[in-house]
Symmetry: C2
């Protein structure tokens, strides 16, 4: 595969993305003979692991408990919540046979796990005293997508689905949980330098079975918008269907309330997309399988080369003692230049180029992957400051991504203007809206864009003197529009 430039604003991003997944050995896609299913290769698996560690950390901090649920759902369970099944019916894979026998009950590969966890909670929880309960699982879900599949972005097997399921004794406590989930997701995306807008999805685009859905959206380098996380208030829809009855504080019995929220493989896809450049991956130190790669530059004679090797090992040792994931590339069959190319492709945050000069001056020459800036400093200083350097790299990467994102947010007063803005620079455009379902649907239809929804109530929106472009009535909020994945 030839290396495509990333060229924001063109279709090249998509080629670039496929190229980087293959060449950096992250995810093998399109070669396994089932559409929409890929393989996490060792390097990609490690990135995924560090990302999951960050997700787990923020969930655990807030009292979420990890569990593991069965992968199959009996048909009659999936059908218990009627909105839910309607939303997923034509996307479900069905297991119909065990060995040579036909099964009595068809089994669905889980498209999400509300209908697995809720009946279990009915067995585990009887009283408000046991609530709230916050569970999560990380595993595969399946959707028979009819749209074009894309590696990590639109899959038929989503192998990294983090889904949280929480249970509460009141509507309000579930709503408080929705806020907590939003705060957790902010921390996760902020840590990973992924910019986002948070919107309440319109009525016609909420999760099947939810009262309402809050979504995190980001902008990929081609200007198209990707949904990267959702939070749902499920009301009592599932707890009624599965009879999760609890005793309340006043002694009465009621159904529990629940929420669910999910993050998928897309979080890794986004990391790669928003930080990468024409040379390949650019990884944040916090999730890089190798944080520092050392390239020893052979000297002119054997003895000096030996000195380089010894020096390099000492550096490795000292970095490792400070908890740095460090690797020496000692390959003999390739040139240093080839190695630079190779590790840039794989996004290693810091590269050390160590030759005789560095040995003699007791220095290191290092190159930052994010800026490609090269510096030579004292070895001791480098070792002392390594975590500071990592911090700087992360901050620079976050700022850069945020800047790109902000440049792609715009406002428009008319549908034409909105469409033009999106044509010009992609991203997300906000347009005044009266709040009526009818006008919302017409804005979607006439603009040919997708409605992402409205800002949350606690977000300030400037709609002074603005009017809905459909009915002309005073605007009560804005609608966010975009081309989406």
């Amino acid at each position: 595969m030839k290396k495509p430039t990333r060229e924001r604003w063109s279709s090249k991003f998509s080629e670039w993305f496929d190229w980087v997944l293959e060449k950096a050995e992250i995810y093998d896609y399109g070669r396994y003979p089932i559409k929409g299913m890929g393989i996490w290769r060792p390097y990609g698996f490690k990135i995924r692991k560090y990302v999951l560690n960050i997700i787990r950390k923020y969930l655990d901090e807030k009292g979420h408990e990890e569990i593991l649920l069965p992968l199959l759902i009996p048909e009659y369970y999936l059908r218990k919540e009627s909105e839910h099944v309607r939303g997923f019916e034509d996307q479900v894979y069905w297991v119909t046979h065990g060995g040579l026998e036909e099964l009595d009950v068809k089994l669905a590969l889980r498209p999400t796990s509300e209908t697995i966890i809720t009946p279990m909670v009915a067995l585990w929880v009887q009283s408000y005293k046991q609530l709230p309960k916050k569970y999560y699982q990380i595993g595969s879900i399946f959707r028979y997508e009819t749209k074009a599949t894309r590696p990590m972005i639109r899959l038929r097997e989503v192998t990294t689905f983090k889904e949280a399921h929480t249970f509460h004794d009141s509507f309000e406590d579930a709503e408080r949980q929705v806020s907590e989930a939003i705060e957790i997701y902010k921390k996760i995306f902020d840590t990973l330098g992924i910019p986002y807008l948070i919107s309440q999805r319109p009525e016609w685009d909420k999760f099947a079975g939810a009262l309402y859905t809050i979504a995190f959206d980001t902008i990929l380098p081609d200007g198209k918008v990707l949904q990267i996380g959702t939070v749902h208030h499920l009301g009592q829809n599932f707890t009624k269907a599965f009879e999760v009855r609890i005793q309340l504080k006043d002694g009465t019995i009621d159904y529990a309330w629940s929420t669910s929220y999910g993050i998928s493989d897309r979080i890794v896809a986004t990391l790669i997309a928003v930080h990468g450049d024409d040379r390949g991956l650019v990884l944040l130190p916090s999730i890089a399988p190798i944080q520092v790669v050392i390239i020893p530059i052979p000297a002119k004679n054997e003895e000096d080369t030996k000195r380089v090797v010894e020096y390099v090992r000492k550096i490795k040792q000292e970095l490792a003692e400070r908890g740095v994931r460090v690797f020496i590339d000692e390959r003999r069959e390739v040139t240093p230049g080839y190695k630079y190319y190779d590790w840039e492709l794989r996004g290693v945050p810091i590269r050390l180029e160590i030759g005789l000069r560095e040995v003699e001056n007791n220095t290191v020459t290092y190159v930052r992957r994010d800026t490609l800036e090269k510096k030579t400093i004292e070895l001791e200083e480098f070792i002392d400051k390594i975590h500071e350097i990592f911090q700087e790299v992360e901050e620079n990467m976050r700022e850069r991504a945020k800047k790109y994102f902000k440049e792609r947010l715009s406002r428009a007063d008319t549908i034409d203007e909105a469409r033009r803005k999106i044509e010009e620079k992609g991203g997300i455009v906000e347009i005044p809206w009266c709040g009526s379902l009818e006008c919302g649907l017409r804005i979607e239809e006439e603009s040919g864009l997708r409605v992402l929804g409205t800002p949350l109530l606690n977000e300030e929106v400037d709609i002074k003197d603005k009017r809905c472009p459909i009915c002309g009535n005073t605007a009560r909020s804005v609608l966010r529009l975009a081309k989406t994945y």
Copy 2:
């Protein structure tokens, strides 16, 4: 559920096992409406996680790389290795529909992943220089078991299947890998205090598609034998079927060689079974979600109780600083006695009972879960020695399990004697064997026991003057027999 005593030698073990899984909130089984599929609850999930960390550690140490493969296999892939498909055909779940459409190609829920990884390796590896390659995955596999299912022991969804897949440039290197795998598994089981015998499975009981199979077997408290790990030399069977051609050092092209080895949920089942007692779980500190639980004993007045609480928090702090997973049970609605019962059931290795006396003497009173022995010592000494105490607990538990295991190994000269020994004390009996397939099968048939196989070649076997009980010829090895799960 009433608490059954464990009573080795009776059917009570099985009841005890179900009881402990439920009451200690490890694994919810038999209540989800698909046979053979259960739920890992938070406490069980943590135990599983610590066990997996140990498995990962020993695999990573030897250069194994973790990956994640698709869960579905197209029918024609599964059929490529003919022995393999014959072995699994009547155990495979088939996905036949996506949404409302019938699929063109039936998809199998993977029963194991040889037929997924091997075709991928054909794309990744071209030369002996890239070999050996050692991959592993931890995930779910599915088998439509027709035998009675048992929680964690015989499941239709095995949610914890660690399968390693390795690729080599020669028969010998694959054989070396088999030895390496055996050494890794020894370390894993030794660390967990799980005793085992290693046998080469007889021809008629090897993995479908393998040249030969080496298995680890342990003895559960009811005297029945459980297979807990297997290692397969796959020869070129799979690499030929999927055309993994590699260039050898001499420039010629040949098919690669492969091995695979697996460990399942059974490793957690065995941990629980071999170490537990009538009060419930007994956990090794290395895999205990909580290593030390502190029970504050309320004093007679508010002020003294406050002193206890402060003292207890200080202990927690100091233990946590030493990397101990510690929890204070501050529940007010239950008595200390209830808490003792509760944490014994959950197998917490060390319990601290802290009242006013301990505060005033600056001591701790601690109870070891493995021996139920109670001691009072200086606080400072306890803190300093905590990791030593953990060591002692682990060694005692390992020794105890090993002793039990050894008592259940026996030898016999005749089939009648073999049968009697198994009736008397369960476990494994060795019987002399001439080495012929025919006599092996007859021994299995006439004894009504299962043939586990023969000791490995490097194990010394005393067969001087012994004769095969079927043909009367000189014994060349022994056959191991048992009642198995």
